[in-house]
């Protein structure tokens, strides 16, 4: 078998914010580091993040501090977050933002010359460091340029299909089992490549491509989740999938593309077809104390945040998405099945163009809508998975020695619902921690490196080539389409037991179809083949979501059960954990939520 | 032929629009202007008609235009047209102008004729060597042009005197010379070098608020530099032609007061 081989201390899979931040840290800690990514460098999904990076820097509100941010994050996640991750995140985010400036990032400024911060849903104070509405691009470009300046090796357009595990050392008795490296292929040539490394950091992002309407790109196939499971790690909170309330709905070809929350943070409001600001009818008791009750109060808040409460449009995303869903179901939607998001009648055209340039551009180019003159039509779109690889909060280490995970692929940090802006800060805080821990782990293994098992490499190669061996099978695009339809219809924003049971049956059937599909052409840059290799990952992760969602008999955050519409005391103390059983099935276990120490519980008592 | 390993596409361009129209128009207009201005420069006659002087010949540096309203600056040999000395500088600013460079590199040198249309040259070194490296002296032509702008304003204001030198006159010629002076001035100050000199070279605008404002103003004008380049080219030819008509006695000046 023709195989290109490399040796590193740390291999980072994924070149979005978390991956690049991890690679930078690992490199600076002295580890020989490589980044492997499916796309070209700088194209990762992080570029799509628009609003900003949440960090309690208190540049605009001196009252803000990590405790307030921690409280907002936990409440946004309906208290199901891993408290330690939420704490580290709130404490370290400001430093992570500041160091980006040392690497060339140029954030928008306050009149004092500091980093400006903007309002976002669920955040008590204006807290999001931003650059217009293209913060993700700034983040990825800054980290990319830093990565290049440090001379870190990047394997672009290269897909990892397997994590390799084995005895950590030369195979002696009683040795610890752990990660030994990774196997993948070059998209360009289809040739195989293997990296031997004692530490692998997964930073592969999310799973959105399993859904029909999504803001996610093709890369979001859940491959990191699936690789971790197959290597023996566990996934936590997989039932929680965030539907962003505002995706484009028209024309059909752009359905799902994100409309940033900043539109609402900067004054935009949601209206139904009758012209009513319906969000006032959907304020849950949990947030009633801090939400405005009248339009007048809500409008005053933009000018005076101390004496007024927040507009209900800025409730956490799960609340807003459910409200939009209900309005449309009740027949008060727009002609194309969304609701109106109106900033045109509330802010001057110049302000809109200045604050939201890429939204202006996106609607103008793709929908022929001028957002400074008319309302946008928006509806929920699959955006983010809160669930992911179960990790140690301080090191991002998964249950398999040598495996780390950071960013969207890791679970726990966001509980049942993520606040806007907490994703970019999550990438930076935990990307750095994962990179550091991965480098330390590699240093400990300096003299006991595991080797790549030849039979495992041969098996991985055989599996990758299997779709070419079969003839006359189904086309992978059809299978993907059917999976997306299944998840959209049956495991979507509102769920019921019978539908999810049906989804599991369909997923089982799809697994059989995937095992039989075939691809045309040859190995050189063949998207049909690439999709065929992604599909098993998508199916495995979809199964985890459906199983966990079926088991959790309550509604909380990004998981809404029509048959169990209330939150439940017992479930409030329980996490669901997915693992791969030896027979290849997904095994689900209940696990108690980690106990928050008293000095943190105090924060919620005031 | 495509370079090795590039996609084998034989067509010089696959553009389906009429990409050749713009360079063609540029060539036609510029050739007409060059022909006209060359003829006028060598004609060495009909360039003043009290109280007006053609912008091609101002400031008047021969004894020919001595009269009631023109002072004597400098006397060169009569057989050399004074326009030859004078036109070198406006020609210089336009030749080295960042806008005209685009226009003539595209339309005359076909480098490239239009975007994504292959150029016909085998080698290309751009402005890296002599003589084109000389384009970098653009700012010195700007300084000279600003001096000429002053002179043209001076000449235009002298149009408020009548042919006997008495103040309180205005004719169509006055207006034409004034508009021409304004357009040429806008062309000069909207120039990229000017934008750089007034403030563009700074890195911390907030420490230089006045220069920042000046830079902002010039930047606004700079966005219309191309328009000023064409309009001022037309006004200068028109102003000269008007003086020519007066000087040959073809028409008489329309007098407002």
């Amino acid at each position: 078998m023709e195989l290109e081989r490399h040796e590193y201390d740390v291999v980072v899979v994924g070149a979005g914010g978390a991956g690049l931040r991890a690679a930078i840290e690992a490199h600076e800690a002295g580890a020989r580091t490589a980044v492997v990514c499916k796309s070209l460098l700088g194209k990762a999904h992080t570029v799509m993040a628009e609003g900003g990076i949440a960090a309690a820097m208190a540049n605009l509100y001196p009252e803000d501090n990590w405790r307030v941010h921690f409280r907002d994050t936990m409440r946004g996640g309906k208290m199901l977050n891993h408290w330690r991750m939420a704490q580290l995140h709130a404490q370290e985010a400001p430093d992570r933002v500041r160091e980006l400036e040392d690497w060339g990032a140029l954030f928008d400024r306050t009149p004092d010359g500091l980093i400006s911060q903007r309002d976002f849903g669920g955040h008590r104070y204006a807290r999001l460091a931003h650059v217009g509405d293209r913060t993700g691009l700034e983040l990825i470009r800054t980290l990319q340029q830093r990565t290049v300046a440090l001379g870190i090796d990047v394997y672009m357009e290269c897909t990892v299909t397997r994590l390799l595990t084995g005895p950590a050392g030369d195979g002696g008795a009683g040795e610890e089992h752990g990660v030994t490296g990774a196997f993948g292929y070059w998209r360009e040539s289809g040739r195989f490549v293997a990296w031997q490394a004692p530490s692998v950091v997964l930073a592969t992002g999310g799973i959105g491509k399993s859904y029909k309407v999504t803001s996610n790109s093709w890369e979001y196939t859940g491959d990191g989740h699936s690789l971790a499971l197959q290597a023996g790690a566990t996934l936590v909170n997989m039932e929680f999938v965030q539907f962003h309330p505002t995706g484009m709905v028209w024309p059909p070809s752009v359905r799902g593309i994100l409309v940033t929350e900043s539109v609402r943070g900067d004054g935009g409001v949601l209206k139904n077809s009758a012209g009513n600001r319906f969000m006032f009818d959907y304020i849950p008791d949990f947030f009633r104390k801090e939400t405005a009750e009248t339009e007048e109060e809500a409008d005053r808040w933009y000018e005076d945040k101390k004496n007024n409460r927040r507009p209900p449009e800025l409730l956490p995303r799960d609340e807003v998405a459910r409200a939009i869903n209900s309005e449309v179901k009740a027949g008060r939607g727009t002609p194309h099945g969304g609701v109106f998001l109106d900033i045109a009648s509330r802010r001057p055209a110049e302000y809109i163009r200045k604050r939201l340039p890429s939204m202006y551009h996106q609607f103008k180019e793709l929908a022929e809508v001028d957002i400074t003159a008319e309302a946008m039509e928006v509806g929920p779109t699959c955006h983010y998975v809160m669930g992911g690889v179960e990790v140690e909060p301080d090191t991002e280490a998964a249950r398999v020695p040598g495996l780390f995970a950071a960013g969207e692929v890791a679970g726990g940090m966001h509980g049942s619902n993520r606040l806007g802006g907490n994703s970019l800060s999550d990438l930076l805080v935990f990307g750095r921690r994962a990179g550091l821990a991965a480098a330390e782990h590699a240093a400990e293994r300096e003299h006991t490196r595991g080797v790549l098992a030849e039979d495992a490499l041969a098996d991985a190669a055989r599996a990758a080539l299997a779709p070419f061996e079969r003839e006359g099978g189904e086309n992978p695009y059809t299978v993907q389409h059917d999976l997306q339809q299944t998840m959209h219809d049956l495991v979507g924003i509102i769920r019921t037991a019978p539908e999810m049971e049906q989804a599991l049956e369909r997923i089982a059937a799809l697994k059989e179809r995937v095992a039989a599909l075939s691809v045309e052409g040859h190995r050189q840059y063949n998207p049909g083949w690439h999709l065929a290799l992604d599909l098993p990952h998508m199916l495995l992760v979809s199964e985890c979501i459906a199983r966990a969602a079926l088991a959790r008999e309550e509604s909380r955050g990004g998981h809404t059960r029509d048959d169990f519409p209330a939150t439940d005391e017992e479930w409030a103390r329980t996490n669901l954990v997915c693992a791969l059983a030896p027979d290849g099935d997904v095994a689900l276990t209940r696990q108690p939520l980690p106990q928050m120490p008293p000095e943190l519980t105090e924060i919620f008592e005031s | 032929m495509p370079a090795p390993r590039r996609a084998a596409i034989a067509e010089r361009t696959l553009r389906t629009d009429r990409w050749w129209v713009q360079p063609l128009v540029t060539v036609v207009v510029l050739v007409l202007f060059i022909a006209y201005s060359t003829f006028r420069a060598f004609q060495n006659a009909y360039y003043y008609a009290e109280p007006y002087i053609s912008p091609f010949y101002s400031p008047c540096i021969t004894t020919r235009c001595e009269g009631d309203s023109f002072p004597e600056f400098f006397t060169g040999p009569v057989w050399i047209s004074p326009a030859i000395y004078i036109l070198v500088l406006p020609l210089g600013i336009r030749l080295t102008c960042y806008y005209y460079r685009k226009a003539y590199y595209r339309s005359f040198w076909l480098s490239p004729p239009a975007c994504a249309v292959a150029e016909p040259h085998r080698r290309y070194t751009g402005e890296t060597r002599f003589p084109l490296i000389g384009q970098n002296v653009h700012r010195y032509f700007l300084y000279a042009a600003l001096l000429f702008n002053l002179i043209l304003f001076y000449e235009a204001f002298r149009g408020f005197r009548d042919e006997t030198g008495e103040w309180g006159h205005m004719g169509l010629g006055t207006l034409i010379l004034l508009v021409n002076a304004v357009m040429l001035f806008l062309y000069s100050v909207s120039c990229h070098s000017c934008r750089h000199i007034v403030g563009g070279r700074l890195n911390n605008f907030s420490r230089h608020p006045l220069r920042y404002r000046a830079w902002g103003l010039v930047s606004k004008l700079n966005a219309r530099h191309m328009q000023y380049a064409w309009v001022s080219l037309l006004t200068v030819a028109l102003a000269d032609f008007y003086v020519f008509l007066l000087a040959t006695g073809t028409i008489t000046d329309l007098r407002f007061f």
């Binding site: 796309s39 070209l40 999904h45 570029v47 500041r98 400036e101 040392d102 060339g104 140029l106 400024r109 010359g113 500091l114 650059v131 293209r134 691009l137 470009r141 672009m156 360009e188 790109s217 093709w218 024309p251 059909p252 070809s253 752009v254 551009h361 996106q362 180019e365 793709l366 086309n475 992978p476 695009y477 059809t478 691809v519 045309e520 040859h522 050189q524 840059y525 998207p527 049909g528 | 390993r5 996609a7 596409i9 553009r15 389906t16 960042y98 685009k102 590199y105 480098s111 975007c115 994504a116 290309y124 490296i133 970098n136 700012r139 070279r201 700074l202 890195n203 911390n204 605008f205 907030s206």
Partner: protein
């Protein structure tokens, strides 16, 4: 609102290829990339195309549509007549890998050569203070999504492969401009811009500005100001003299 369009798509690799004609359905509101995806899903499963966000934010799906460098995801089908044949070809300036995918490694090699950002130290309170007006110019260039359309259209390398050695292309000239205008950066890149990255090759014919999907004014706001900054250092005896007698203009 659905109609059948005629598409000519270049298929092949470095060894050769040609334009192949397809008849394919087009629905209301679609862009060229949607149609390419439909071809992939129904008629040519192995048609190679690079794409990611499909929202004009990542700059992956660059190609030439009817001879003009464009993002396929931002080229609406409604800009063509229903009877018009739409021709889609790979970027011409770069070696082709397969079908619409080209080898853009030239750009990554140039990126690695740019002298890195070198900031002044932080202030005593650990912050960097900059006013909005100080950051806006460089922010414009940081909007760049690295779609390489400007690199593709630039005749300096499009028509002259041999210039790739000495010319970095418009994207990296504005990267140099961005760093040179960056209020925190302390490194002087003017000599490098001229000597190593080929600023002098640019004859400001502005095709880069014309194709930029982000509307960045590469020429007027980036390359020309950079040329003027180089003039300050290299070609203007007055500023040269000023720097020699110690009156260095504060930047």
């Amino acid at each position: 609102m659905t109609y059948d369009a005629t598409f000519r798509v270049w298929r092949g690799d470095a060894a050769g290829g040609d334009l192949q004609t397809f008849t394919v359905a087009v629905n209301e509101g679609e862009v060229v990339l949607d149609v390419i995806h439909r071809l992939q899903a129904t008629q040519a499963g192995d048609l190679a195309v690079r794409w990611n966000c499909k929202a004009g934010k990542c700059g992956s799906c660059s190609a030439e549509v009817n001879g003009r460098p464009r993002l396929m995801c931002m080229t609406r089908m409604s800009t063509f007549a229903e009877t018009e044949t739409v021709t889609v070809t790979p970027l011409r300036t770069f070696p082709v890998i397969r079908d619409l995918v080209t080898d853009v490694s030239y750009n990554y090699e140039k990126a690695a050569q740019i002298p890195a950002f070198a900031p002044r130290p932080r202030e005593a309170d650990g912050s960097h203070r900059m006013q909005q007006v100080d950051v806006e110019r460089s922010q414009e260039f940081r909007k760049c999504i690295e779609c390489w359309l400007c690199q593709d259209t630039c005749h300096v390398i499009r028509d002259h492969e041999e210039n790739k050695r000495s010319f970095a292309g418009p994207r990296f000239l504005i990267r140099l401009a961005e760093l040179d205008m960056h209020p925190l950066d302390e490194r002087d890149r003017r000599d490098a811009a001229q000597d190593e990255f080929g600023l002098g090759y640019c004859n400001i014919t502005k095709c880069c500005s014309e194709v930029c999907p982000e509307g960045i004014h590469l020429t007027d706001n980036g390359i020309i100001p950079l040329k003027e900054r180089v003039v300050d250092r290299r070609f203007d005896p007055l500023t040269w003299l000023g720097s020699k007698i110690g009156r260095r203009p504060s930047r």
